[in-house]
Symmetry: C2
């Protein structure tokens, strides 16, 4: 169902700044958090930086297992993404609670999120302790060909999200 | 003309992932580059991470002067933002060439971009050498009240940009 995606194209998914879900697996439990504080750092191999606070339950899992999946939800999942972000894996089984489907990844233990149109399997490549910045290398990327022209959401604070509008094309010399 | 903006609200401008312009001033010359590789790191004082390659002319200016302005263009400026990104300050006076207006900042030497709806005056707070990640503290923020509901652009590669569409509001327990 999910289609392999060129690693050199990963930046096109994350650079526009969508809200993403981050999954971890630790001590026999999978967990999900919602995240907007991420950016590309290198095209290929794709490196992604993200901020996960040590107040997040996912922090310990990511530090210990050095693996995660970044899943990109379309706008249809906005209410679920928000609810995932408004509770903690400390006391909630989030996949079950929010009706999200874990699917096996190929290169890492944390699950893909089957409902998301893109899933990026990541291994920890570095950690900048002072700022809580994780550097992730995307080692495998998947897209769901059934989701054509997915619209992502962009967080503006307090439950407000801007949904992707029209795509404009300008002539560029660069990627 | 530009209105002072609460520093605690800065994340609402950058977190959604817009294409931004970054200005520097070095050796008597102001320069601009276009940038999408940025993310929030802390709410308040607002810390922003961004990747500026040492291949960019702005790299030396930012390292030497430890100051910059992050300016956020609306969709009307998309063609100019692209052209700013497709040439180098080594051999182009970009403000002049692209008809952008430098305006004096209050706390830093690099200029604001008068046409942008938001301008963030930044001082360098850290540098992660291994990944070329600059950590900037926003010390002063401005918005242009004349630009109501500005639509930002989000880079998808090769001159393709998604423009902000509708804003949805969901009930959230958190900022």
């Amino acid at each position: 169902m999910m289609k392999n995606q060129l690693l050199s194209k990963v930046y096109q998914v994350l650079e526009p700044g969508p809200v993403v879900l981050l999954t971890t697996a630790h001590k026999g439990r999978a967990n999900i958090m919602t995240l907007s504080w991420h950016m590309m750092v290198e095209f290929e191999p794709p490196l992604v930086a993200c901020v996960v606070s040590n107040r997040n339950h996912s922090f310990a899992a990511l530090r210990a297992t050095k693996e995660c999946v970044i899943a990109v939800p379309g706008v249809e999942l906005a209410p679920k993404a928000l609810r995932v972000g408004n509770c903690s894996g400390r006391n909630v089984e989030k996949f079950e609670r929010f009706g999200l489907t874990p699917a096996p990844a190929e290169r890492v233990a944390p699950p893909l999120v089957a409902e998301c149109f893109a899933n990026l399997e990541c291994k920890l490549a570095g950690f900048v302790n002072k700022y809580g910045i994780f550097i992730l290398e995307v080692v495998k990327a998947w897209t769901d060909p059934a989701q054509r022209n997915p619209k992502t959401i962009h967080h503006h604070g307090y439950g407000r999200f801007v949904v992707d509008g029209e795509m404009i094309r300008l002539k560029s010399k660069k990627g």
